[in-house]
């Protein structure tokens, strides 16, 4: 054949590979409410920037039932392209080919895509729509004994490049550990699910009858298990979420996060903050209103919004620069921290610190939950994760005490002892080891018991104690940097960030600490 015939043959092979699993399978994909892998990639990457690798790949030829058949691209599209002008590597499973199962050739392609992200130091993105391992090619000791390196590599890449694993269909076993090790996991409502063992395996091994949705749907993981970061309506919303998320991140851990021009005035005063906190210190308000009032244009990408809602975490910008917000939420459990919320906040602090994103702490925390229930759940070690993460973080840290700052809650939310570059309080700030009622009962127990009228004595002591809890006591000792008008919060934070930009902290060398997981 001459070159002309050869390139015609190449073009025909390319067309076949790009047709995915064929018309029928594509129609089934659409009928299930899902886009095809190639439609998803068209949305994800800037037009014409995706360079595909491994499009000519097919199955390894070891499974008897696949003899004589082709598996286009071997069920996974891999390559690199630009998202908002910046490079990223992608592994996108194609459910129309062998249910997107992880075949032996497919894994060679995936290894290549990870190698590109890792050695060139730019983000790695997985679009997961896969039944898991392709058992025909993985069964038996000879096949399996050498597999599994993907999770080791993903672990090593953690904190080096941003890693996003979007659940856009099923992810079972092998394809469920990929999101577990990724930084950000959006899940499409209704079509995505993940589980270490899918329903047939669950039925066979433990005898439980359960659907994939009940076992590991987006609601389960975004509201109960905490394994998902964001429930999104459909595939398009999922791709948008990936782009929104990446816009806050640098390409890798040696670059600063991307700053954008900002036309929201840095000293904008927000009048609503004057009346947001109720007069009664025991009443709740929505801390997200504070977040939205303060950040650029009120734009806030909240992560894990439906799980452990007593703490609010997410990404926003201040004066055009990305920041991570950690805020207690008085609307839920009074803002008290518990096992899941400590987990959620600690992980988010580590994420921001890994990628040089400054942290803003908004404190209104009555403390850590107490009682037998949380002690048995290991609140001590879960709370310690937050102590550990906030202590380790060397990014700029700014703290605003909105109201309550009690006990270890004050510490883990970056109190004075945790190297905040600026710590200020609203006039409502209450910083104390514990509240006046609890403190009085402990400190003046004998005096109260001995008094002629114990109740009156208790009330008098509580009032005395209460006088000691106000921001001017802390500011008077220069232990917080200032007391501010709530309306000034945005301006104070933006000036604080600018001041802390050149922050340099050299920790002692260590291999790594022993994190209280």
């Amino acid at each position: 054949m001459g070159m002309k015939e050869l390139v015609d043959e190449l073009a025909a092979k390319r067309t076949r590979a790009r047709a995915m699993g064929g018309e029928e399978a594509v129609a089934r994909q659409h009928a299930a409410g899902k886009l095809t892998v190639r439609e998803r990639l068209d949305l994800l990457f800037d037009a014409g920037t995706l360079t595909e690798i491994g499009v000519q790949a097919t199955h390894a030829g070891i499974a008897p039932d696949l003899a004589g058949r082709e598996t286009p691209a071997d069920g996974v599209v891999t390559g690199f392209g630009r998202i908002a002008g910046r490079l990223a590597s992608v592994i996108a499973y194609d459910f129309t080919v062998m249910a997107g199962s992880m075949g032996r050739t497919a894994e060679v392609k995936c290894n290549r895509a990870r190698e590109i992200a890792y050695t060139k130091r730019f983000p790695m993105i997985w679009l997961i729509d896969s039944a898991g391992a392709r058992i025909q090619e993985a069964i038996g000791s000879k096949s399996f004994a050498g597999s599994g390196l993907l999770f080791r590599e993903e672990s090593i890449m953690s904190g080096v490049v941003p890693q996003v694993a979007a659940m856009m269909g099923p992810g079972a076993a092998g394809t469920a550990y990929i999101p577990a090790l990724a930084d950000f996991v959006p899940m499409v409502k209704g079509t995505s699910n993940m589980a270490l063992g899918g329903p047939p395996l669950v039925k066979a091994v433990v005898g439980e009858d359960i659907t994939a949705e009940e076992l590991g749907g987006s609601k389960v993981h975004c509201e109960i298990s905490g394994c998902g970061d964001l429930e999104v309506e459909d595939d398009r919303a999922c791709i948008r979420a990936i782009k929104d998320y990446l816009a806050y991140f640098p390409q890798n851990n040696t670059e600063p996060p991307p700053v954008v021009p900002c036309d929201d005035p840095p000293d904008r005063r927000e009048e609503a903050l004057l009346t947001l906190v109720p007069d009664s210190p025991r009443r709740a308000y929505d801390v997200k209103k504070v977040v939205r009032a303060v950040v650029d244009h009120g734009v806030f990408l909240e992560l894990k919004p439906a799980w452990a809602k007593n703490v609010v975490v997410g990404l926003a910008r201040l004066g055009g620069a990305p920041v991570g917000i950690v805020a207690n939420q008085p609307m839920v459990l009074g803002g008290a921290l518990d096992v899941d919320s400590a987990d959620k906040a600690a992980r988010f602090i580590m994420l921001c610190d890994a990628f040089s994103i400054p942290l803003v702490f908004l404190q209104d925390v009555p403390g850590f939950m107490v009682g037998s229930k949380v002690e048995r759940a290991g609140i001590i070690r879960h709370g310690a994760k937050m102590l550990y993460a906030v202590s380790e973080a060397t990014v700029p840290k700014l703290t605003v005490v909105l109201r309550k700052a009690y006990g270890a809650g004050y510490f883990v939310m970056c109190g004075r002892g945790y190297e905040p570059d600026l710590i200020v309080g609203w006039p409502t700030a209450e910083i104390s080891v514990m509240g006046p009622e609890g403190g009085t009962n402990i400190v003046f127990r004998r005096e109260i018991a001995a008094a002629a009228s114990p109740e009156e004595e208790r009330a008098r002591r509580v009032e005395e104690f209460r006088k000691l809890i106000n921001p001017y006591m802390a500011a008077g000792a220069a232990l917080i940097d200032d007391v501010i008008d709530p309306r000034e919060t945005r301006g104070v934070l933006i000036r604080g960030l600018a001041m802390a930009r050149t922050k340099t902290l050299q920790r002692p060398w260590k291999k790594h600490g022993v994190m209280p997981v």
């Binding site: 025991r282 009555p366 403390g367 939950m369 229930k373």
Partner: protein
């Protein structure tokens, strides 16, 4: 289907905000607990009529205790 409303935090019943027979909307407080220095509402999970209130003001409830029942 009657539905039990459970306390999601251990605390003392500070206030009962919906009487038996009252109609409530999803998210309305049925009772308010005092815990962790805060007043924490226990909300109706859905619209409905309150069948019974199982607690009294001042009573200590544990997380998971049934505090009220919806019709």
């Amino acid at each position: 289907m009657p539905e039990e409303i459970k306390a999601h935090i251990t605390g003392v019943v500070f206030q009962i905000t919906a009487a038996a027979g009252a109609r409530v909307a999803a998210g309305d407080p049925v009772i308010v607990l005092e815990s962790m220095k805060m007043e924490i509402p226990v909300e109706a999970p859905r619209d409905g009529a309150v069948k019974e209130i199982r607690v009294q003001e001042g009573q200590t409830v544990q997380e998971g205790d049934v505090v009220a029942v919806l019709e």
